[in-house]
């Protein structure tokens, strides 16, 4: 079904349902939440350029032009090629979301839809991804929810230990006994995060080797919580081509948490059944807070996962083993929290690790951050983090002060500085940013949020290949109309009469 067709189906269905049974329509309630967001983005994109080789001094493959740009000069070629920042462009992408929830058709029956419209203005509207995709139906399903089971039919999404996946189909949740949940989903799989079928055009626009068949997805999850101390989950996900000629993905995952006396042990194991590899093995232990201090240690093995419609898996990507320590101290009142973390990882042998010009095969990271509320409504935050790895390194710091306005929202002033990271590029420089943000609850049902940050590129040195002098702004308005389902703190306007 096309997007427009599906939307029409949902709208017509809701209207028909409300009109078909007057007594039902009388009890029906609808709640609509809208979110309008505007961004302002300045950018100086990279553009490819070339200069006559004879105008570039020096020798060798990489040379520098008189104005500092690094170019690649291949012997015997007339031109050296390189990149440089283009003229500044800006865009103002706008998104309008509508979330519609309707209930009152009977106990546990609900319909929900999430629609999104997009457009963009400014000097280069195409700068923002998918700005030309004017309409999306992100979610649209009907739900029947009772104590022991829940059924959903339509476009929906699920998050689990395997991440986020969305689909058009049927979802069933069974809760046979307290602590046990069985879930299953089946339907047409959608491109992760895109809400479009694999052959819907979104992938073809940017990838010549896009899937040629839609996908059919089956996913199951079992969650078991025998006690508040122990919880376990097992997941299986399979996505096959519609013509059954091959798999798009097949994953399984198991994870669990065991808590005792303020301590916890978490573990996860994820296997790419199709690729025959373990994507993740993770074990994390956290001590109980002793004198307000908790220490967490984690060992993790990670290998990236690629769907089988891509050729990336054939390039034998390798994973890494990582150890991580995390120390958190929080004063009992919660007004002061300090965290520090350190990590070290070692990449697997690629089979190409020896010889001249090879990259390091390990990396490490350090970071610390703190949050302090010297007074009830004020909060100061700051942090620093550094990552060093193959091909690049980066450090960044941030700080800010936030003044709470209670339930009305907050205002904040924030600053940050970072050294740029461009993998495998000769580049350096420091970018600083300063800006403010606010979130204001204008009424019980209207909330406005906004931020404005200016970035200044310092110390571009002699390689001005990138320009970070730019301005970014966000403005978002969130509003709600319709009935109150009873999940907020607002007292009902008309409390029921007690006989």
């Amino acid at each position: 079904m096309s997007r427009g067709g599906l939307l029409g189906f949902v709208i017509v269905g809701l209207v028909a349902l409300s009109m078909a049974a007057p007594q039902v329509a009388e009890a029906q309630s609808v709640r609509i939440t809208g979110s309008t967001s505007l961004r302002y983005i300045e950018m100086r994109p990279f553009v490819r350029d070339s200069v006559l080789a004879e105008e570039v001094g020096g020798a060798g493959l990489l040379r520098q032009t008189a104005d500092g740009h690094v170019v690649r000069c291949v012997a015997a070629q007339t031109f050296c090629r390189g990149t440089r920042p283009a003229d500044e462009v800006s865009t103002i992408p706008a998104m309008q979301d509508l979330e519609i929830s309707a209930w009152g058709f009977g106990e546990g029956i609900r319909a929900f839809a999430h629609l999104r419209g997009r457009t963009a203005w400014g000097g280069d509207p195409e700068l923002w991804p998918r700005a030309d995709d004017a309409f999306d139906l992100l979610t649209a399903y009907g739900e029947f929810n009772r104590e022991r089971f829940r059924v959903r039919a339509g476009r929906q999404w699920v998050t689990s230990g395997l991440g986020f996946y969305n689909f058009d189909g049927l979802g069933l949740t069974l809760r046979p006994v307290t602590g046990l949940a069985l879930e299953g989903q089946v339907g047409r799989s959608l491109v992760r995060g895109l809400n479009e079928q694999r052959t819907g055009g979104a992938l073809e626009a940017i990838e010549q080797l896009a899937p040629i068949e839609p996908g059919l997805m089956l996913s199951t999850q079992v969650r078991y919580r025998p006690s508040p101390r122990l919880s376990l989950a097992a997941l299986y996900h399979r996505d096959v081509r519609d013509d059954r000629a091959g798999l798009y993905s097949e994953l399984a995952r198991a994870e669990g948490v065991f808590r005792f006396g303020g301590a916890s042990v978490e573990g996860a194991l994820e296997r790419d059944l199709a690729g025959g590899e373990f994507n993740e093995l993770r074990l994390r232990a956290r001590t109980p807070p002793i004198r307000s201090t908790a220490l967490a240690a984690e060992v993790r093995r990670y290998r990236p996962y690629f769907e089988l419609w891509t050729i990336w898996g054939a390039f034998s990507p390798v994973g890494f083993d990582e150890g991580r320590l995390d120390l958190t101290w929080a004063r009992a009142r919660g007004d002061l929290i300090v965290r520090g973390e350190a990590s070290y990882r070692s990449y697997d042998d690629t089979g190409l690790d020896r010889g001249v010009g090879r990259f390091r095969t390990d990396g490490w990271g350090l970071g610390a951050n703190a949050s302090w509320s010297p007074r009830e409504l004020w909060r100061l935050e700051g942090g620093y983090r550094m990552e060093v790895g193959f091909g690049a390194a980066r450090s960044e710091g941030h700080g800010g002060v936030q003044r709470s306005l209670g339930e009305r929202g907050h205002v904040a002033l924030r600053g940050l500085a970072f050294q740029r990271l461009y993998e495998f590029r000769l580049d350096h420089g420091v970018v600083v940013g300063l800006g403010g943000e606010t979130s204001l609850r204008l009424t019980d049902r209207v909330q406005a949020m906004g931020s404005l940050t200016g970035y200044r590129h310092l110390d571009q040195g002699d390689r001005p290949d990138m320009d970070w002098n730019q301005l970014r702004a966000n403005l978002r308005l969130r509003w709600t109309v319709g009935a109150e389902p009873g999940v907020t703190r607002e007292p009902p306007t008309d409390p029921p009469e007690v006989p």
Binding site: W128, G193, L194, G246, A294, P317, R385, Y455, W468
Partner: protein, 477 residues
Amino acid sequence: MKKLTAPLAVLLVGAGALMASLHSTDDFPHEAHQGLFPVCEGCHLGVVTGVEADLFPDAASCTECHDGVREDEVDWTPPGPRATNLRFFHPEHQDLVDEEGESATCQTCHSALAPDPPPVRMAVAMAPPEGCLQCHVHDAVDHLASTAECASCHLTLPEADRLSVERIAGFPLPESHEDPDFVAQHAPETSLDLISCGVCHARNTCERCHVNADRLEEIAGLERDDRVAILEQGRLAEYPVPATHLDPGWDWDHGTVAFAETARCSNCHTQPSCTECHLEGGERASEVIASLPTPIPDGAPGVDLASAGDRVHPPDFDDRHATFAATGALQCTECHSQQYCSDCHAAADSRDFHPDNFLERHALEVFAGSGNCQSCHSTEAFCRDCHESAGVASEGRLNVAFHTAQPLWILSHGQAARIGLESCASCHRQTDCLECHSTFLGRGVNPHGPGFDAEGMAARNRVTCQWCHLGDPIGDD
């Protein structure tokens, strides 16, 4: 006299002190009349009979002598009914003394501190507290000790109905009540304890804070008192945070305690305490919540947890909530609606997962591999779309002059690709790679690493093999 209860003795001391403080109202010059009255009972018959009206002689008795002729007139009136909460009754005390085979006269108590023999007859005074202790053995360290059984010597407030509001307000505060943990541990353990509470407190006292006052037998057993109501009026309920609640793990673990000891929670918490966070309320939580009291207008307000949701999870929870959510360890839906999750976890549709300036800083997360970008984003569709707009994505293989850190990048890129293939895929189309790595579109450079399971991959999606290989790739290779 044999040993009586220690608290009784202790309280008698206090009672004696109280009586002494009231002495000025009965300022009769006994010593000036020492030759006149042969026995105490002549004037204080009520001490023997128990009739309160006969405790003191009436004023007219004085005029028998002080008639202005024989003696000057005097203006003396007997004290009125005594406003006291002392549980002391002369005839009963005398009976106890007699039962013990002991001897006690008026002088035993009322001239107890006088020299022996007394300098003059009728050198009497109010019985001093120390006098009580001459007979009564006591263990408690002081009058207001927490082990004292107050009701041994004191009436409860309803019984002491002559006490004024001011007198009640002036009751001394036992040291035990100043202990920070007192509120958490103040529940009376025995009926004697409860009666002790009733010496100073009425039901109104409890109802100021206890939202479950009507459910507790201990409170229901107390009577309301108008004088206490006046004292409680305008006082705010106090809910000191128990030590257990200050444990950083409390927010996580409180559910177990709440389920096991719901009645205890009901002392301070009403249902809104829970529903501030438990928006949806799962089966287990709903059971607990439903059994908590509901707020009563003008009743105890209960603990205000309006901002509790901001501090429920430990500071490092953002980083590790995934496993807890995925396994149902914390039953997230008891507090959060799915909308709460989708604010962050609706993949590319989410606008709250990353901070506002994440776009400018996201390279760090990708580089460190800590973000698990692929769990929400399609690398091909999401990352590359934006990178192409920004100009950092590739436009083919050989015209790229982006990787300037390595002069011989083309010779060393294989290692970088196998380590950071996610990054590569965020800029490069697959066809970029096939220009060299395809057997029929490119130069046939083998990209497969050690241990590559060609047969396994072909078995799972043979079509993908055919992007590079003509015919049967297994046979070809």
